[in-house]
């Protein structure tokens, strides 16, 4: 009985895998050649930066925290906080969402360290988790972008616009998109499909990579995306011609960072609402997709979570995508 059940399960699982492969292939042919080339460029640049280091210098990283304070000798420009965590324990690698450098600078777990420093590893249960919470909220917006690109068919002509800076108190994380249709009234099951895609991303436990690139390269990577290429000059202007990119699987987006180490930190997640915020030209409209999420390991009863879900469906008051930037400082893209 159990044998046959396992067999059946295996067969259906294989079928599911095949289906997913077909889907990715179909997506690929449908218009994701740009995604492939973008990833190619990202990988090349990553390799180039790694090879440009040349002679490897050693740095001393002073780790502060449990089980004891230690000094680690690591490789400059190569070793990441994650590598430091690997020297400590598997639990540290698994639990640490974000690193804190010199007691004040939040640092991605997979971003190479630049000089000797002190290091703290942060998780969601520390007494002052504001930095981690913010990074988590930003990661949720970023993941929502990835989930949306996977969910929509090519016919929908989905274009990601941007996501505003993380504001947990608003009750929802946000991603602004442009769709070809002027009147998309999402059904419950459609929203559920997007939530399910988020959960799938979390289950895949994808590492979130960070890369600083020159503006020209970023322009080359996002040449197919109308909105991103419009945003790039002003973003680069703020940071001396450099643009920070993040990659999750094959999804690449612009963000100031920092983000949490991996997608597995996403626990409970609901993408609850899609509001049409403005028309975009004769064909197409801006939509604001919103959701709420909790880090993994956080237990909340469904009544309380229901309140949060309900609240997350109200239109988020963050700056809308079609409004002009008031100030360069406050500009979009966290």
């Amino acid at each position: 009985m159990t044998m046959s059940a396992t067999k059946l399960h295996k067969i259906s699982w294989c079928a599911l895998r095949q289906l997913q492969q077909y889907r990715t292939k179909a997506n690929f042919s449908a218009g994701s050649a740009s995604i492939a080339s973008r990833n190619e460029l990202f990988t090349q640049e990553q390799r180039r930066q790694r090879e440009a280091i040349g002679r490897i210098d050693k740095i001393e990283v002073r780790y502060l925290g449990l089980p004891e304070d230690v000094t680690l000798v690591m490789n400059n420009q190569i070793s990441t906080p994650f590598n430091c965590a690997q020297h400590l324990s598997e639990g540290h690698c698994r639990r640490s969402a974000l690193a804190l450098i010199d007691g004040s600078v939040p640092w991605d777990m997979h971003r190479p360290l630049q000089e000797s420093c002190t290091l703290q590893l942060l998780n969601f249960n520390i007494s002052e988790p504001h930095v981690v919470n913010k990074a988590f909220w930003r990661t949720c917006s970023f993941m929502l972008g990835a989930a949306l690109t996977r969910v929509f068919k090519a016919e929908a002509k989905l274009q990601l616009h941007s996501f505003p800076g993380p504001n947990i108190k608003s009750g929802s994380f946000v991603h602004d998109i442009v769709l070809e249709t002027q009147s998309w009234q999402p059904t419950k099951s459609e929203m559920r499909a997007i939530s399910a895609e988020m959960i799938k991303l979390a289950a895949q436990d994808l590492r979130i990579e960070r890369l600083d690139v020159q503006q020209e390269l970023a322009q080359e990577m996002f040449k197919d995306s109308k909105y991103k290429s419009e945003q790039l000059p002003s973003i680069a202007q703020q940071s001396n011609g450099r643009v920070t990119l993040y990659r999750l699987g094959d999804h690449i987006d612009i963000s100031r960072g920092p983000m949490v180490a991996s997608t597995h930190f996403l626990g409970k997640c609901t993408v609850g609402a899609a509001h049409k915020v403005a028309d975009e030209g004769p064909a197409g409209a801006f939509y604001r997709i919103q959701g709420v999420a909790l880090p993994c390991g956080f237990k909340l009863n469904h009544v309380a979570y229901g309140f949060l879900e309900e609240r997350s469906q109200k239109l988020n008051p963050a700056r809308l995508p079609h409004e002009p930037f008031e100030e360069h400082q406050q500009m979009q893209l966290s």
Partner: protein, 176 residues
């Protein structure tokens, strides 16, 4: 129908019990298995929190629940219950504890009397599943992290904001 309500004849346990028993490999056979379980139940009543292999803990848990449940139902003047307590508790002073401490503690509970957690496995070592078995309401500090007190945790921030928004809307209704 003039028939006794059958469901009331036996204690209904508040935990999920497996349909078949674990044999808990033992050279002395069934008798050895029972002795093992009696030792575990005795230790649980004595120490109120024990760490042991998962299978043994899960198997002993049902018997501990049954013992406490029967003690609450029948009290200490019931011969069968007394015999049951005498059988399961190897240290006889624990019979007093069962009726004088645990029965008053659990009288008004509407959840199970014991609680079981999965514990990390030994590494390197015997790779058996470990667990912690405890009586509820024991005097030790909780094994679970308390996530309700720190208002900076993400879910608490969200809940606090939702509460504030609700109050604001109520206030606006009042003003109208």
């Amino acid at each position: 129908m003039n028939q006794a309500d059958v469901t009331k004849l036996m204690s209904q346990l508040r935990i999920a019990v497996r349909p078949n028993q674990r044999n808990l490999k033992n050279p002395d056979g069934a008798e050895g298995r029972l002795l093992k379980l009696r030792k575990t139940v005795t230790a649980l009543m004595k120490h109120e929190r024990i760490e042991l292999y998962y299978n043994r803990a899960d198997e002993a848990r049902g018997y501990a629940e049954l013992l406490i449940s029967n003690a609450i139902r029948h009290g200490d003047r019931h011969r069968a219950t007394m015999e049951l307590a005498d059988y399961w508790l190897l240290e006889k002073q624990l019979v007093h504890k069962l009726f004088k401490v645990l029965v008053p503690r659990y009288e008004n509970y509407n959840v199970s009397y014991t609680r079981m957690y999965k514990a990390p496995r030994d590494y390197p070592g015997m790779y058996y599943r470990q667990s912690v078995l405890e009586l509820r309401g024991n005097p030790y500090p909780s094994l679970l992290m308390d996530q309700s007190q720190n208002r900076n945790l993400l879910h608490n921030v969200l809940l606090d904001e939702a509460r504030k928004e609700y109050r604001r809307s109520k206030l606006a209704d009042l003003v109208k």
